[in-house]
Symmetry: C2
Subunit: 369 residues, 2 copies
């Protein structure tokens, strides 16, 4: 059975460290989950992910349902075996992808009808079918179907949308049969304080194993994002992990941890890596910049990842300009390691009761360069 334990709560703000168990191992929070959309974290092997300290990855139900199909993965022995990753996996519900990748979609009480972005075929997914799909995949943490409320949206639309999401969460919970899988419910409520509060309270009634906070970072300002998190968190049970979906930058992570978030996923480190945008402790660098043509230094002198230990910026720039696969690999490894080190540093700071100082230093370093 899934169990989350708070190990220490920061005296300042809502930051906390904790851990949860899964059938594939323990996870220490706050945690960043690299995104393995199509049953692979783009460019890396599971051994490399382990090597940089990855404890849990995310995979996308929507993508795997369409290709190769969850039945294929089930037949091969489940997602872990299929992709040769024996650590914990969280699968999202596909709600976000249905709403962001598909022009044609029809929402009803029953579920969502959408057109595949791959071959144009029409599919209906329901709160029940999404649980069945995720049971086939066999992730350690699965998620209820939700409607990712668009931004901007009227109060009335947002209210109806959150009611739908709560109803779907109840039906998801009633459908779930596998006790080895934890179920997370998704909180919506758009940019309305009372709807965020209501969504949080009603999700507590649904009683999932953890809370996902959805519908944020969809175009609103960062200040509004933080506000919505602040309205949500106090109404959640403190003994369940809080996972903010699809966020974010290192700054976002620090701010969300400060506000009590435990789990993160984002394509930023992996996607930016493939585009040549690299994270360092003193800010971002764009490796194609001609300033790096003859630069013998590593991406980040303070970094001890495989890439920084062995390759110059000049070489990485060359690989990027030449469109080489190795560019994506080396950059991805570095960026993910940067995020994972950030989480380690955050946990250590909370453990040592100096999270606010850590946060000040974090901004100081990045603004000084």
């Amino acid at each position: 059975m899934f169990r989350f334990k708070v190990i220490k709560k920061s005296k300042e703000g809502e930051a906390r460290i904790g851990e949860f168990n899964t059938p594939h191992g323990m996870v220490k929070t706050p945690v960043f989950m690299p995104v393995g959309t199509q049953a692979t974290v783009k460019g890396l092997t599971p051994e490399e992910l382990k090597g940089i300290g990855t404890e849990i990855i995310l995979a996308n139900t929507y993508h795997l349902y369409l290709r190769p199909g969850h039945q294929v993965i089930e037949r091969i022995g489940g997602l872990h075996k299929f992709m040769h990753w024996d650590g914990p996996i969280l699968t999202d519900s596909g709600g976000y992808q249905v709403f962001s990748l598909n022009a044609l979609r029809e929402i009803s009480e029953e579920g969502v009808t959408f057109k595949s972005h791959i071959d144009g075929s029409i599919h209906l997914i329901t709160p029940e079918s999404v649980i069945h799909i995720q049971e086939s995949l066999g992730a350690d943490i699965i998620t209820c179907l939700d409607e990712c409320t668009p931004y901007p949206a009227t109060y009335e639309y947002t209210q109806r949308s959150l009611e739908l999401t709560i109803n779907w969460a109840k039906r998801s919970k009633a459908t779930k049969t596998n006790n080895h899988q934890a179920l997370f419910g998704i909180i919506q409520g758009g940019m309305y304080r009372d709807l965020r509060e209501r969504s949080a309270k009603e999700m507590v009634e649904v009683d999932p194993d953890g809370y996902a906070i959805g519908g944020l970072s969809v175009g609103e300002t960062k200040l509004l994002t933080w506000e919505m998190i602040e309205y949500t968190i106090p109404h959640l049970l403190p003994d369940r992990p809080r996972y903010i979906m699809g966020i974010g930058t290192p700054e976002d992570i620090v701010e969300c941890v400060y506000r009590g978030v435990d789990m993160f996923d984002c394509v930023l480190p992996t996607r930016n890596a493939r585009n040549g945008m690299l994270f360092t402790n003193s800010g971002k660098i764009v490796i194609r910049n001609s300033a790096y043509r003859l630069d013998e230094d590593p991406i980040d002198k303070d970094c001890d990842c495989y890439t920084c230990r062995n390759y110059s910026r000049a070489y990485l720039r060359h690989l990027f300009m030449a469109g080489e696969i190795l560019a994506s690999r080396l950059n991805t490894l570095h960026n993910l390691y940067h995020f994972i080190c950030l989480m380690n540093d955050i946990r250590q700071a909370i453990f040592e009761d100096r999270f606010l100082q850590f946060r000040r230093d974090f901004y100081h370093k990045r603004c000084n360069t």
Copy 2:
């Protein structure tokens, strides 16, 4: 100083095993050199190449001269340091690329003028400049500029072309100053027996450290390729390695070894890997084939590479269909390992005086499936 030693010559045919030393380590022959066109064997790290038993790689002077520029690589400490490969490297002269990648080119006694395939800029390379470029790069084995005679070509054209190549080889040798680098001369002569023989004999006079056989596998039948090799080899000094450029398939390799070739390079295993064409001991498979959709087996049950130990054909098919980077990586690792194991098996067979039996078994296995 470069030194090649024949360790054993097969009683049947011209097959032989040997070894040569370089400033970056020994190489056992017959050897297959993975191609690292742009200072990276596409998709793999140097550690992975070492891990599958790679002893020497090839890099392309033409590509590196144009991008990032040999001066950049020299400034970063040479090609080995630049790409983080501390084993032996052979650089070709760029002759083949100038003739195959460029529509606009002008050949004169002085050298070749060509238009960059990257940015359209005009460049003149000469036998002298190509040596200087390769001295900047710092490979262990460098190559003389040659004209890769087109196919078909008239006797007169081929004769003039080979005279040019021989003259260029003399000038290359006179230019070379670095005694740590071995110099290979390239034998041409098109598809004419007497011109191949003449080219071989005159190259012996030039006295390079090794012989590259060029201008083959350019459109002619395999039988004609083998014939040209048979006309060439007997006229070469037996104490120098013989390297056939850009060849070939596993079958090509077996046939060339039988005829006395010691060194091979080819983009086949790496390029085919990226296109989903995988080598096995019982023939080739095309991983996108729908027959592999639910196939739990590895690519090759007899293979113990990382890919075959950990991933099913179903997963590799999924990665390929989804256009994932990991597909290229895992496929490349497997295909190169297949080639390197083939070379190990060939050496072992020659060592044990059973190369002809090995050759028969090799065809038998591949034809039986």
